[in-house]
Subunit: 202 residues, 2 copies
């Protein structure tokens, strides 16, 4: 039998399907959308994909994504950002999330993952040695361990805490509690327990 | 201020955002996924996008998508498919959906849209003249009007019905009723009314 869709279409459906959260139905929908869309739209996506790989690097200081020509990255190079305050996150997306608050004036360190014995991710797979070096050489006074509030994120924060023991600095962790705009009724027991434990005076 | 993400990253996020059903959050997630994924994955997607545009055409008979070298398409060229039975659909994706049933042995005609005065889509924007020509020249005995069960799909089916009036052929429409696996309780009134009206002997 002949295939129901021509090979080039099948190939694009498969390429989309490999992306996380994109199932075969969404992949088909995107592909058939692009078949009808102005040609420029699909080609711009193709070129953006190629350009991203070609024109980005990891900052050699904080390991966030940076443009090919900008190392250290704009954030690390900014004298306005406090070098004494270092926020440790799992992924570049987390930097984006914290920057969006507009409330943070320190610098970052991106681990590129969390410790996960189950998935074979050990300390040597993360940017941990680099973190310890920075803490010693950059005069950091506070390290905010902003790994995710998950089992693995907590374990990674604990691991870093042990590694930094004896250093003259404050180690902090993001507050746990009810999400803003959230509903007490729908909060899970764990979140609610932490919101209780962390309650503050009004 | 510097941007929170480098330009090449921003560009890819924007390109993804333009796809239907992909919001800014999903676009960021996909982009940052590709930053971490093996390089080949993003490049394969880029090449698949370019290849699809380069290597596909519309079949000059049924107007379904076909490979650049295959016109008429494999389906139109297959002598096993009944030429007397013609299924009219809105989009190439609909051909795929019907082929997936494995129950249809006729041919297709893809309109590439539906009549929509609101959006300025008139008969001349669809492959309607081509449909009428085929019906006359290919000895078609039954036309299944498989446009969507929506207002516009129905209107388009009615329009085609009027155009084909006087031709010695059967005109049919896909059955309306409860979806398989569906729940009566959750069916909308319209669907339920049509399921009632179309009830059959057991």
């Amino acid at each position: 039998m002949y295939p129901a869709v021509p090979d080039p279409v099948e190939r694009l459906i498969e390429a989309f399907s490999r992306l996380p959260g994109i199932g075969p139905k969404t992949a088909s929908r995107l592909t058939f959308y692009l078949l009808r869309a102005p040609e420029a739209e699909g080609l711009e996506l193709a070129e953006a994909l190629q350009a991203m790989r070609r024109d980005t690097r990891l900052c050699s200081t904080c390991f966030n994504i940076t443009s090919a020509g900008a190392d250290p990255c704009a954030l690390c190079a900014d004298p306005q950002r406090e070098a004494q305050l270092l926020c440790v996150v799992e992924e570049p997306l987390d930097v984006l999330a914290i920057e969006r608050t507009g409330q943070y004036r320190g610098r970052y360190h991106v681990l590129h993952g969390v410790l996960s014995p189950m998935e074979g991710v050990g300390p040597e797979d993360l940017k941990l040695t680099e973190l310890l070096k920075r803490v010693e050489s950059e005069g950091v006074e506070e390290v905010i361990l902003a790994t995710n509030p998950t089992l693995e994120g907590e374990a990674t924060a604990m691991y870093i805490k042990r590694q930094l023991e004896g250093q003259p600095l404050r180690l902090t962790r993001l507050a746990r509690g009810l999400p803003s705009g959230g509903d007490l009724e729908y909060a899970d027991a764990n979140t609610l327990a932490q919101a209780l434990a962390g309650r503050s005076e009004m």
